[in-house]
């Protein structure tokens, strides 16, 4: 069973390969989009690499939400109560306090940091902090 530190190192190398960023820039609090310059198409690449590198299966839409065009989830560019509930369920490890004040769908992906991926993988592998 890998430690959190080992998972972080592997997530770090995953992001270096997927995004072409420098290792030192991949800090736990770095956001995937703003800090590391990821684009939406990179998410698929990241999912492929995490699956390969950790030997895990990531079902469609589990790590990164896909249904943001669903009117039940998003209305007027903001997550609905149902949308927020789904995000809470999918990202139990993310701090949503600030996001819930203004659940702008454009800001949804700002919630994703390197640590989000580490926690997701740790959760998948059953690793506790």
């Amino acid at each position: 069973m890998p430690t959190q530190a080992e998972i972080f190192e592997k997530v770090q190398s995953t992001l270096v390969d997927a995004l072409g960023v420098d290792e030192e820039d991949v800090r736990p609090d770095a956001t995937l989009f703003k800090d590391l310059g990821a684009e939406s198409i990179d998410l698929l690449d990241i999912v492929f690499r995490l699956e390969r590198n950790f030997g895990i299966k990531i079902p469609r839409g589990e790590l990164f939400p896909e249904n943001v065009s669903d009117p039940e989830m998003v209305a007027d560019g903001k997550l609905t109560a149902k949308g927020l509930q789904e995000i809470r369920e999918k990202m139990p490890f993310a701090d949503l306090t600030e996001f819930e004040q203004d659940p702008d769908v454009e800001k949804l992906f700002d919630l994703y940091t390197v640590d989000t991926l580490v926690q997701y993988v740790a959760n998948k592998l059953g690793v506790k902090e």
């Binding site: 390969d17 997927a18 072409g20 198409i41 990179d42 698929l44 690449d45 999912v47 492929f48 699956e51 390969r52 469609r60 896909e66 065009s69």
Partner: protein
């Protein structure tokens, strides 16, 4: 000009591997522009040929039900150049396939030597959204592009002339497919 950057499939194993060839000729305009006085095959068009080989491999894996688009090239390394008169051999291995897309390992060889080594990520366009934008027609796998695969299948069925087996040896890499392995 037709946007077909492979000439022929010489091996096609569904959901696994495809090998295609691309012959280069001075009749191709782009060679004269890249570069004037020293015509070489643009690396970007070698990648396009690899992507077409891989795209058809990925599309065929789901019986062309998905619209497969090139999403990303995380890595592309070139070790040489190709000129008029050369024959490039494109070898593509499907390494990952999931509902949202696929990853292939794609290599180009010239005279048996590795010329280009790439990783290509393909996305399956979300059906509901792409239907809104482009309609239900599969604009990726048009008849123009599918001709290459259809032609290879026709030659395989006819079993004569320069069939798949013969061409597979052309780059010096003799491949002797096991019975039933090479299914075009």
């Amino acid at each position: 000009m037709r946007w077909i950057w492979i000439d022929k499939f010489v091996e096609f194993r569904s959901g696994q591997f495809a090998r295609a060839i691309k012959n280069l000729t001075l009749a191709e305009e782009h060679l004269h522009d890249h570069y004037p006085g020293y015509p070489v095959m643009p690396a970007s068009l070698i990648i396009e040929g690899l992507a077409q080989t891989g795209g058809i491999l990925v599309g065929e894996a789901s019986q062309f039900a998905e619209k497969v688009v090139l999403a990303k090239i995380p890595r592309a390394e070139f070790h040489g150049i190709a000129c008029a008169g050369d024959q490039l051999v494109y070898e593509v291995t499907l390494t990952d396939l999931r509902p949202e897309g696929a990853v292939v390992d794609a290599k180009a060889y010239l005279d048996g030597q590795l010329l280009a080594d790439c990783e290509i990520v393909f996305a399956h366009l979300d059906n509901s959204r792409s239907n809104q934008m482009f309609g239900p027609k599969n604009f990726v796998f048009t008849q123009q592009l599918m001709t290459v695969l259809d032609l290879a299948r026709a030659r395989e069925r006819s079993g004569g002339g320069a069939g798949a087996g013969d061409e597979a040896t052309a780059n010096g890499q003799v491949h002797d497919p096991a019975p039933g392995e090479a299914t075009l």
